[in-house]
Structures are given as C-alpha cells and as structure tokens.
Symmetry: C3
Subunit: 388 residues, 3 copies
C-alpha cells in the first residue's frame, strides 16, 4: 500500500511486522537481545556474597549471584540434570550454594556441581562440565551487564564507546560517580508495546512539545523538538532552578560534576535496552526487559548522592518529573503498538528530519539480524545522538 | 473420517477448519470482511459535524466522521507519520480536526494533513498524499457502510439488490422509512463463536421449534421449520396481536407500511455481517463485528417511530422478544463452535432440506476466497431466502 | 549447546521442544493420547442406565454413558448434523436419549439417531451411519477405558500385561478387589506442566528424599532413591504402622490382600496417563488429562473398602499423605516446565542410573510417534518398574 516516502526530507521506518510478528521477536531475541551486552541488575542488588537475582534476558531466565571473592557471576537458571528452574525467587540470599529443589543437585556460587545424590554411582563425573551454564558478565557504572552469546562482542566498543561518543569523551560519564550513588527510587512499568518503539521514543524529541509539558518547562529547547542531536557533548540547558516536576530546586550538585556539565541534561541510549539520563544532582537509568513482541517491562532507577538518602531528603519532586515523562512516553508507545498491524503501516511510516537518526537504530537492528541492505541510503545518516 | 453425505437429501457444509483455523480467519478478513460493503455504524451515531466513531472492520481500526458538508467520511485510524492509533476513544466529537497525541500531526475532517510541527523543514510536502488513508463509504437505510477494498464492489448489486430480491422489490424496504426511525434500544452481545455460525443460524429456521418458544408463538409457521424460504415477498404471518415477548399489542404500525406488509415478519441477510428484521411497528438491525476466528461482537438496534420515543412509550416487551431470540441463537452458536475442531467435523456436517440455502452462503464465501469449485453441485441451490 | 551426556552412567532425555512445542503436543494427541487406551472415568461415575460423563481425551470431547443393558458406551460428543457439542454438562442423567439442544437431533443410548425434525423429508436415512461416532470402550479395575483410534491396540497387551509385569503376575492386582471399592475422596489438580513430566516424575524415586518427607517416613527405602526398580513383585516395605500422613494406623487390610502384599506399597504406571498405587488398606488411582502442551489436569481417586465408608471412618490421614505427595510432585513438574524452553535444555538433560528406566518411557513415546531410532542404545534398558 504505502510505498517509499514521497518526499526527500522523509526517511522510511521498519515495516509494521517488525513490531507485531512473534517470529520477528524470536529472531531479535536470538540475534539482538541474547547477543548483546544486556544491563541486568544494579550492582547494589547483589550486596553480599550469596546474594542473588533472577531476570529474564530475551527468552532465558538468568541467575546472577555474587561469590565470596566479590565477583558477580551469571548462569542460565536451569538445572543440568532434568531441567528444573533452579531459582524461582526473584531475589534472595544463599549461604554457599544453590540446591535444585527437585533432586538436590547442588551448585556452588561459581556454578560448579558440588554435590548430588548418588554421585558415587557416577564416578569421575566432571563437576564443571555438569555445572551451571555460565554467562559472560561485567560490572560497569554500578550495574551488572551480561551477554548470553558464546562469543560476546567487545564491551568497550559496544557499551563504553557508545556512552563516550554521545558525551564527547569516555571520561565524561565518570564525573557523575554513578557507582557510588544510592538508589532513591525504583519504579517498574509494564508496557504493552514492542521494545523498539520504546527505544525510538527515547531517541527523538519531536514529540516533546506534544506530550511532555513538565519536561519542556525544565528543558525549554526540547519544545523545539531538535534538542541535543546537534550538540554532542553539550546536552540540553536547564531553564529552571532544578530538574524537578515543578522546576524547584533539586538535590545539590553531585561532587564530581563539572561546570560544563552543571545545569545540563544528557541522555544516552545504549542499544538494545538501556537509557542513561544525567542531570547535575541525580542520574536516572532505565533497563528494558522485552518479554514478548508486544510487551516490555521497564525498570527505572533514580540514583542520588548517598548523603541525600542519609539525610532523609525528600526526593519526590525529582522522581516525579521523569516518572511523568515515562508514563507519557509509554502511553505513546502503546498507542503506536495498535497501529503496527494495520495495512497502512505494512511498509512502515516516515521519519521527519529531526528523527532521521532513528534510521541508524533501525540499521543497527537490521545488521544484527543479518538483514542490512549494503546499498541502503542509511550510510549517510549521522550517528545517533539521543535525546529523551 | 466423515465423507460425503450419505443421503441424497443432505448437502455438505464447510469443513470444521473454516471455523477454528486462525489462518482461515485471516483469509476471510482479507477477502470477505475487508473486501465487502460492511455496515459500520448508524448514521445517527454521527449526528453533527465533527462527530466520530471508531469500529473494527476485519483486522483494521476504522475512524468514521461527519464533515461540515454533512458527508460521512471513513479513514484507517492510523497516523501516517509513525503509525500511532489516531483515535483511541470509541466515540466523541472534534471541532475541526484530529490531532495525533504523539507528535501532533493534524488531519482535517476530510483526512488531509493540515499541520505538523516542523512542516517548514519539509517544503512542498503533499498534504493529501500524507493525509489519512481514506475508505469508501455510503449511507443507506440510516446506516453508514464502508468498504476497505481499493476497488469496492457495486453497492447496488451486493447490498441493495440483495434486500430487493429477498423482499420481492427494491421499493419494499423503503416502506418502513428506516432512515427516519429512532433508536429505542441497542444491545451488544459478545459471542464466542465464528461469525459464519451466526450467519448460518440466522439463515435457517430448522432450529426455531427447539430453541425459540416465544418466537414460534408469535410466528406459528416457524414451528414447522420451513418458514419464509418459499415465500419471497410474503414473509411470515404473525399469529399474535403484536411482535412482543408475550404476544401483546406492539407499538402501532409504521406510517409507510403497506397492508401486504402488515402483520408480517421479514428477515434479510446481507452477507457478510448484517441482518435486517422488519415487523409492522419496528425494525431490528444486527451488525456483526468478527474479532477473531472464535469471537464475534454483535450490535443489535431496535428502531421505532420517533413518536414512540417522544411519547415515552414502553418498548420493553418489543425489545425483549428478539433479545431472547438473540441469546437463544448465540448460545447455540457457541455450542457449535466447540464441535468445529473435532475430527468428527473435519469434513463438516450436513444440511437438511430446509437448510439447503445455507449452501449458497458457503459457496459465496468460497467464491470470495477464490476457492469455488466450478463443478460443485451448489449451482442447483436456489438463492438464499433467509429466515430468522 | 548441550551434546550427548559426557559420562557413561548418564543417559539422554527427550529434547526440551517435546515439552513446549504445541506442534509436538498435537502429534502426541494424535499418535499417543488418542491412539492408546485412555482411562476416562470410574465405572461408579456411571451408576445407572442413562448416567453420563463428558471428558477430554487429547483434543476431543468424549461422551460416556451407560445403557439399559448396563454396557458403557462412548461417543464423540459432536452432533452429526451441524457439529454442535451434544452435552455441555460434565455429568448427569438422561432418560433414554441425548437430544441436541440446537435442532433436536436425538440419539439413543447406543448412539443411533432415533429422531430428528423433518426426518420424513429424508426417507431411508441410515440411523446408524448418522448416529454418534462411537469410540472403543472397556471396563476394567472399576474404571472405563476408551480408545479413540479406529483400530485400537490390544487392551490385554497394553494395559493388563503392563500391570501384570510390574506386579509379577496378572492375578496380583485382583487381590485388591478394586472393582468393589468405594470412592472415599477425589481431588483434582490443575498442573502447569507437560504430561510427560508428570509421568517421568512418577517413574523415579531419585527425588523422594528431597521433596517427600512424609512419604520417605512411611517408606524408608524411598529415601535411598532406588526403591522398587529392582523389586518386581515385591514393592516397597512400609516402615510405619499405616500408610498415613503421620504413620498412624490406617483403615484395615483389604479382604483379598495377601500376606506377601501386606505392609507393602506398589506403584504401576500405565502409559500414557494412569498411575495405580496399591497399599494394604486402600488404592489410589491417578488419571491424567493433558489439555495443552503445558497444562495437565489430574484426577486422583482414593478407593477404600465399602465398610469404611459405611462406618463413617475418618480417612483424612490416609488421604492427606498422597495429597501432599501429589502437591510436592506437581510443584516439581511445574518448576521443570519453566526450564524446558531454555537453550540449555534444547538437547535435553540427563538421566542418572536410578532414572535409566525413564529412557524406556521416552522410547515408548518416540515409537508411538514413529520417531524411534532403531540403532538407539535404549534396547539395553530394562523394562520400566515404576515407583512413586
């Protein structure tokens, strides 16, 4: 029906089927979500030796735990004997091992098989080969990142460099000292939309004037829709005293934040599923958990200086600003999801000039899926410079 | 298992898969529901300029609205920019345009793009080519009919002539002055059955003696099961004073109803999804909305003389008769749905002589799907003469 | 990922897809559940002429009824006319026939068509050919067994001999006089797991020490995990006074139970869906109804001497023991179901030595599906000797 965009200022999007076809989602699980570095939990979610968390990455349940050497390890949450889910709790603490509640196969915090009934009848059984299947893991920026691929891509190139390029240098993000911040609030959103709609929404500000009245009050240039795309390393300038729902004063500048970073908002998308928002007095991190072609759970953390928590300072006006932004955005994503299955969107929609960089995200997805068109016109698209 | 009917008086039905296979439903959406004239809403549901309604036709959300020139227009309810559902409300009124709540692309009541942020960066953009995708529309008998096909079939031949042939003349239906009637009651039924079962049920009266005690009291010949099939233009004769649940007097003959039409009941099926029931003092119109292979929503309207509404006359006994008939019928359809997936019904069931005209409906469906068997025995089947 | 088990004492299981793929379940419905003798209801559920029950066997609704000659008959629960489900009630009693509530086609207790409206217009219609489709039926051990196949396998070989081989003789089971026992309690469990996980669970005792504290108290050897596999005809010796949740005295030895059978527990698996548990004072029968690839309903009957019921004896401690065992087992099965879709289980898990006989069940399933590997190593596996 729809053909190529009829105007030179418009670029095409992905086709509607990419957002509604369960087979498309399965392919993205295999080649994108389970093949990329995926931000699973906060480091602080695993405070002690024996602390554990279970999360869903693509189609897999992943068990994360911290060992006595303080290293975080990640495993497929599946007993190697008869396939029972080892941990059914979302979080907790074990003393020194995980015991399958079915036949008592027991695994150490390093995943190796430490005991099982009747092991004497299986002399010489390789405890490592029959241990939990391990998953690559990294801690960075106060979060635990995992990659389910057998041969993970470079963490430096696909995560650290993405943040560095967006902020103008690899050092910039460290000024915020994210590893040392405290969790002030965590809100979980269950969104009836494909995860790529959430990414696309986060990448452009063309919608800001329409749905984000509070945000455009705080960041006046966002009302223009162009925002940070052309301002690598500069961010958006705040127009109010604080990054709060009513523009009132915030929580006090974080110790390491530079004068150049002060009174500015920076947003970074780390595909496929992380958004980092930096403001002078706090940091907001979104982790997406795509659970189905039309369902995405998003955990959003508000991180503040530990002194703020210690003092019992009221953070509600800071939290409420982006909580409102989130709800406004996710409503929009759900509204889009409805249209994806229409014949009108069979060949996709259009990207206006301020959205052209979303094309680079689409090309990234296509490349991951092995469907990139080498003759496509997207090579001329500048790198993605995301805005909220 | 089952083979061809083993008796010359029996005809075959469609196979069970036609009623349970999601792929069969998708094909019917494409080739039947989205390719035929489809009765969407009552004209009175769009009383004013700017009034709108959204309905589901096949797999598509359709937006209907009346413009300032009093014309009804219909559009795919999808923003041409990034595919958001334009209207999420079922009904309402706009002043002069529909604005997408995501990026504020704004469309006039004629569907053309009237404004969008940053339009100046897209100079010369074709406002019509990027307007809402339009859908063919007609008003007739006080209802708005749409066709989602690019090249709709003849309305006269596929709608008007069907009614005329059933009633014996194209003029007969107009005696009831349906366009001028008022809505006395609307009841919505959510039925766990394939839409074709509902059509088949409406087309035959072989079941009337079993499940419709009130109706056969009012229309005694229906107890025989043969009913109007052989009475083109005559209808079924009423045996009670009124077409009411207890046979008591009704609402008074409609002004245009002829002596030949008085004290008679006529029923018309307009495939794929409309039933019209004509009695001397009111008219009952069913519109079906097939939502899945095993789910059909039916809106049923009871239409009466405006004077009846103005006088505050009690219509409950008139409404209750067909409301009971509906519930009895839809229970039967749901009971049938259960059996469609059985191996016993893999090759379908049988039509007894008083049901043979249902074979013409089956042939109509097969023809629409491009699966008609030119050598099939259905050419000898008389045209469908439906009865309730 | 996983390859062949890396240790000579381990055998492979079925692959994970066998437990999660709807297509695999459809194949098992066709070739296993609908092709085997299937224990449908208790004979006592059909006490009188005209008593009926409806159950789901594979993908079909089956109607069971007792005729005036005391014979039980089984039919596909589908009207031969237009496919309506004939009986929607789960149980009840009819006088002499089943009448379809749609068009009043009426079938005798032998399934033949006895009347229908307008039969005179179908002269010479074959009442048997248009009667309900019959299903093979047998009564044995106080239960009604059906087989939906056109050409059922030998009941003696696939049911009676299986019980006889497990107990050491064909006579052994009859000592319990199951046909004459009374139903003391029936509990229905709705389990979110594939039916084969439930079979596998019932077949091995490697899990007993981990999840069945009450059972291993009553049957001490079960704590060792080896149990009855090597004890054909002997069963497990009770270590407590009674087979009760607290080991207290039970209900009194059943009249026919031999001294060799006294104070012993025997368990028999009759694939695909029956478990029989024999203890001196009562009998427990599980019938599984696999409803989807990931859902199985299990009806469990506790059968006791009629004198126990007549005396109003408290059976709760006897019932509670296996009710707890059931809940412990079904929790484990649900936990396994979660892991079946993981890539870690794509090639399945491993069977330890005390579970090797489960391989014979897997081979039985593969053979039924026509997928047996003639060169497979399972021919060396001893016959299954099941334990709870």
């Amino acid at each position: 029906m729809t053909t190529a965009p009829s105007h030179p200022s418009l670029l095409p999007t992905l086709p509607g089927s990419a957002y509604v076809d369960p087979a498309a989602h399965a392919a993205e699980c295999e080649h994108v979500l389970e093949a990329s570095w995926f931000c699973a939990v906060a480091s602080a979610d695993l405070p002690d030796a024996g602390s554990f968390r279970t999360v869903t990455v693509g189609r897999e349940s992943v068990l994360l735990t911290r060992s006595r050497d303080r290293q975080v390890r990640a495993f497929f949450n599946v007993c190697r004997h008869r396939g029972a889910r080892l941990c059914t709790e979302e979080s907790g603490t074990v003393r020194r091992s995980f015991q399958c509640p079915y036949h008592a196969w027991t695994y150490g915090l390093d995943g190796s098989l430490v005991s099982a009934p009747h092991l004497s009848s299986m002399p010489g059984l390789d405890r490592t080969a029959h241990g939990l299947r391990t998953i690559a893991v990294r801690e960075w920026l106060g979060y635990v990142w995992v990659c389910l691929a057998d041969d993970p891509p470079s963490f430096a190139e696909t995560v650290e460099d993405v943040v560095g390029e967006r902020l103008g240098s690899r050092e910039a993000v460290h000024a915020y000292g994210i590893e040392g911040l405290s969790l002030a609030r965590r809100i979980t959103y269950d969104v009836a939309a494909n995860w790529k709609l959430v990414v696309e929404n986060f990448m452009e500000c063309y919608h800001c004037a329409t749905i984000h009245p509070e945000l455009t009050e705080v960041l006046p240039e966002f009302a223009g829709g162009y925002a940070a795309q052309t301002n690598v390393g500069l961010g958006a300038v705040m127009g109010t005293e604080g990054f709060t729902v009513d523009g009132s004063a915030g929580l006090g500048r974080l110790p390491g934040v530079t004068d150049e970073q002060d009174r500015r908002y920076f947003a970074v998308t780390i595909a496929p599923q992380v958004f980092v928002n930096l403001v002078p007095d706090h940091v907001i991190v979104h982790r997406m958990f795509p659970l189905a072609v039309d369902r995405t759970v998003i955990e959003c953390d508000w991180l503040v200086d530990p002194a703020v928590v210690a003092a019992g300072t009221d953070v509600s006006r800071s939290v409420e600003l982006f909580d409102r932004v989130n709800r406004q955005d996710f409503d929009a994503c759900e509204r889009c999801q409805h249209g994806m299955s229409s014949r009108v969107y069979a060949d996709g929609g259009v990207l206006v000039p301020t959205e052209h960089h979303i094309g680079a995200f689409h090309e990234w997805v296509r490349t991951k899926l092995g469907r990139s068109d080498p003759a496509g016109g997207l090579s001329a698209v500048p790198e993605a410079h995301e805005v909220a």
